[in-house]
Structure formats: C-alpha cells, structure tokens
C-alpha cells in the first residue's frame, strides 16, 4: 500500500463499529443477518475489549470465544484489529491508522462501542515504575507480564479490584492487600443485593479474601527507582505500611466519550460521569450514529451485550428486534445504579495528591501548579496540563474529580499519529514530503 498516494485508500461499508469489546461484537452479530457490509475497528491486537482481553495468560470465557468464532464465520463482517481512529475528515467518513498505514473508511451507520477507561487518581508516588491501574495490572498479566511470587497490593474501588486480584493470584502473584475505599456497610449492602443478578454473585467471593479491607485507601507509594512499599489509610486516622513489588490502583471507570464528542454527539451525566447520550434504540443525538456499552455509562458487560445488540439491529433497520431486547436492559441498568451507589468515591480521596504530586504525567505538571486555576482551559493554557500524548485522558478525568473541572471536547488528531496519515486530511497538499516522522 502506497501511503504517499494523496487519494489514500478508501474503504466503504454500511455499518462501521468502533470497538470490539462485548458491545461491538454484539452489535456486529446483530447487524450481520441483514447482509449489510460491516467493519469493526479496534485498537488492540485481538478483539474482546478489556473484559475479554486475549493473551498468553488470558483464558477467555465461552461467551467471548463463541462470539469471536461467530464473527469469523460471517463473511460480511471485517474485523480490523490494531487500528485507531485519528479523525473524522468529513461526514460519513473516519480516518484510521494502524502500524503500517493510514486509510479512510466511509460508513452509512456508525456504532460507537468505545468502552471505558480506569479513573486513575494522583497520589504521592503514583508515577513510580511498579504502580499501575487495577485493570491495568490485569491487562498486563493477561498480556504476559509474569508476577509469580511478587507481593501485590491492589487499591481503589469497585469490583474490578477483586477481578484484578483473581487474575494476579491465578498468575502466581501474592496479593497481600486489597484496599477498597468504600465502607464495609456499603460493600456488604452491594453483596447482599447481588442475588438479584445471577452470575454476578461469583464476584462477591472476593469478599472472603483474607487480604480484603474496606474503608481503606492509598496514601502514598514509596521507592527509589521503583516501588518498594505503600502506605494505606485504615479507618479514620490509622495507617499501615506494606512492602510490595506492585501496586495496582484504580478508582472505577470513566466512559470513553472522546470520539463521540468529536462527532458532535451530546453527553449526559450518568452516575456522576459524562457519557454519550442515547435513546431507546441506542441512537445518539447525531443522525445515523449509535452508541452502546460503557461509553454510554458504565454498567458492565451484560448491559453492553444487550445495548450492542439493540444498536446493531437498529442500525440494520430491524427495529422490531431492537425493541424486543429493550426490556432486558432494565435489570442491568439497575445493577449499574447499585454498583455506582455502593462504590461512590469518598471525599478524602480528593486530598490524596500532595502539592508536589504530578497530576499530568505527560507534561509533569504538579498539583500545586494546577490548584490556583479556576478551570480546565485556564490550567491547560498556563501549565500545559492535558496537552501531552494522552491528550488529557488521564489528567482530565482526575482534575474533574479533584477540582470539578470539565475537560474541553477533544480536537483531532484524537491520538498521536504519523505525518503520512495526517496528509489525508489535506489531500491538496503534495504528500511526497510527508512520509517521515512518527
């Protein structure tokens, strides 16, 4: 493929799905019987999203492998892994990039299944090697990170802590502490309600993990060049120091709304976080664009599968089938509400960062440099916070929690991109000079 070609390759499809997690897979399989040409684009090397991440130590559930096989059998579904959306050069068209090339895809219906990321909050020592997100550690282990014999502390909030602990234990890691910031009363209340959602009860088994503590949160991570120990808050004023090799710290999930926002899709606040607004058919505020799964509000994979199927049917014009699935959604929306209520983040977490703690990891901007500013735009202008490679995806969510700031809508390119790919945005400019740079 000649990336110097100013016209660049253009691929056409009826239904374009961004994200190959549960929602994206369900959307593709629901739309497929219509005969529509379907393209699924995903930035990971294999489909499955975060929850069904494949890898040498993954061990995928049947729900994942069956859907992967089913997609493989559909001649009208093309799965494109390892590719990112860079921009929307014009209506009904997205610019993509993978390791080799950039190209454009035109679509008639677009389904955004962009998932969620972890809420990663700054605390002293959070940039030390050995500190990761909670889901981040889980992802790294599934992707082959050896942790056998390592002492691992998992901290933050939500059921993901238990899932990360289970993955780490299975890989031979020694989970020496799981620190859940929510109170025992809140967590016990959540566990008691799990019977309403059969299949979710298994997650409560972690409550019997001897290392599990409620009402406990990270205070700091210590180490010279890498993590050596952590300090955790216990109770109102107590603290404990634990020597460890890894700290996995995550405070829940944040919907990935950036692509939807870039396309003009309206947001709605769901459980205290901005999410893509959708109607009963999973349609966003922009005609012909649908959204499903965590991007519409964090609620788990069961909800994502149903939303994805509704969106797939709706995009393919099968409104009756989409409507028929709708009643199943209510119970998972109720699950999401219970989850968010039980694991609501406590106020003291807003005081975790010290003045010298870096909040923006890309540009090394400290908390003390941000605190005097009144909003995101001013802080960004004066400190470069949010202007680095992650484009505010980590610090934007953090400052929203810490300071109540609302990050601006993202601008293209939506992720770091090669010059040769960007050339597609300006096809009138000769591109023979635009092949260098990464």
């Amino acid at each position: 493929m000649n990336i110097k070609d100013p016209s660049m390759a253009v691929e056409h499809c009826d239904v374009l799905i961004i994200g190959a997690g549960p929602a994206g897979m369900a959307a593709a399989l629901a739309a497929a019987p219509s005969g529509a040409s379907i393209v699924i684009v995903d930035d990971n090397p294999a489909p499955g999203g975060q929850i069904w991440r494949d890898g040498p130590h993954a061990g995928l559930p049947a729900a994942a492998t069956q859907r992967r096989s089913a997609i493989g059998r559909c001649a009208n579904i093309r799965l494109v892994s390892g590719a990112r959306v860079v921009a929307a050069p014009q209506p009904f068209e997205l610019l993509l990039e993978d390791a080799e090339r950039g190209w454009r895809v035109t679509w008639k219906k677009l389904i955004l299944c962009t998932g969620a990321r972890e809420l990663l909050l700054p605390f002293p020592g959070w940039t030390l090697p050995g500190v990761t997100g909670a889901g981040g550690l889980q992802a790294l282990i599934k992707s082959g990170l050896p942790v056998a014999g390592e002492r691992i502390v998992i901290a933050g909030s939500g059921p993901l802590l238990l899932a990360a602990a289970a993955t780490a234990t299975k890989a031979g890691g020694r989970v020496v502490r799981i620190a859940e910031q929510a109170s025992l009363k809140a967590v016990a209340g959540f566990a008691a309600q799990l019977a309403r959602w059969p299949g979710k009860a298994a997650q409560s088994l972690g409550l019997f993990n001897a290392a599990y503590r409620t009402g406990s949160h990270i205070l700091s991570a210590q180490g010279e060049s890498r993590l050596a120990s952590v300090r955790l808050r216990r109770g109102a004023a107590g603290a404990e120091d634990i020597a460890c090799d890894r700290l996995a710290c995550g405070f829940g999930l944040v919907p990935n709304t950036e692509l939807g926002q870039h396309l003009g899709c309206a947001l709605v606040m769901r459980h205290g976080t901005a999410a893509l607004a959708v109607d009963a058919a999973q349609a966003t505020s922009v005609p012909n664009i649908y959204a499903a799964g965590e991007a519409t509000g964090v609620g788990g994979s069961d909800r994502a599968l149903i939303q994805g199927a509704i969106a797939g049917h709706a995009a393919a014009g099968a409104t009756a089938q989409a409507d028929a699935l709708r009643p199943q959604l209510a119970r998972w929306e109720a699950f999401a509400a219970t989850l968010h209520h039980s694991f609501a983040l406590a106020g003291p977490l807003r005081q975790l960062a010290a003045p010298g703690t870096l909040v923006c990891r890309c540009e090394d901007v400290a908390h003390s440099a941000l605190a005097p500013h009144k909003d995101w735009a001013t802080a960004k202008l004066h400190t470069r916070c949010g202007m680095g490679a992650c484009q505010g995806r980590v610090c934007g969510a953090a400052t929203q929690f810490l300071f109540g700031w609302t990050p601006n809508a993202p601008r293209p390119p939506l992720s770091p991109v090669r010059v040769a790919t960007l050339a597609a945005l300006a096809p009138s400019i000769p591109t023979s000079d635009a092949t260098h740079g990464t």
């Binding site: 930035d43 990971n44 090397p45 975060q50 494949d54 890898g55 040498p56 061990g59 390892g82 390791a99 990321r117 972890e118 990663l120 940039t127 090697p129 050995g130 500190v131 990761t132 997100g133 889901g135 981040g136 550690l137 889980q138 992802a139 790294l140 992707s143 082959g144 990170l145 050896p146 060049s225 890498r226 990891r361 890309c362 540009e363 090394d364 680095g388 490679a389 992650c390 995806r393 980590v394 770091p416 090669r418 990464t438």
Partner: protein, 86 residues
C-alpha cells in the same frame, strides 16, 4: 494450557524471549527487571513504566521497528526491535 511457543525480540539491542502473544509492554516490564530498559523518561527525566495497560495513558510509547507505537497494544514478534529508555 498448552506450552506456549516463544518469540525473541531485541530490546535496546539485547535479546529477550517471551511467550508468543506477549505484549511489548509486558516484555518491557521483564526487561526493566533485568535492567535492559523500561518504557520512557518523563519531561523531567523520571523513569516511567507501562501504567494503564489499555492504550490510554501513553506512558509505554516506544520505538518498535522504527515506529513510535504503544507497547501495550503491540504483540512481540520474532526479530522485532524495540528502543526504550534506560
């Protein structure tokens, strides 16, 4: 689980063998433990390692076969060359 095939890549010119399917981010963590290299240095020179594990934080961006890529979203391949900070 079957015995996995291994692949050998070069990190900062040093060979590293890992199970097939291992991400470059996981390989960088192994490399860091052996003092071969980690992910990157921050603008103030701090050592940074893979952090979010899912293509968001950009801490694991390294040169892979001459192109800047995210280590957590790239699988190790035989003969792959990775240039990372030390």
């Amino acid at each position: 689980m079957t015995t996995p095939r291994t692949v050998t890549l070069q990190i900062n010119g040093r060979p590293l063998s890992v199970s097939a399917g291992t991400s470059v981010a996981a390989a960088l963590c192994i490399a860091d433990a052996r003092r071969i290299g980690m992910a990157r240095r921050s603008v103030h020179g701090e050592a940074r390692a893979p952090f979010c594990g899912m293509g968001i934080c950009q801490e694991c961006r390294v040169d892979i076969d001459g192109r800047r890529r995210l280590a957590c979203q790239t699988r190790c391949e035989d003969g792959m060359t990775v240039e990372a900070a030390t």
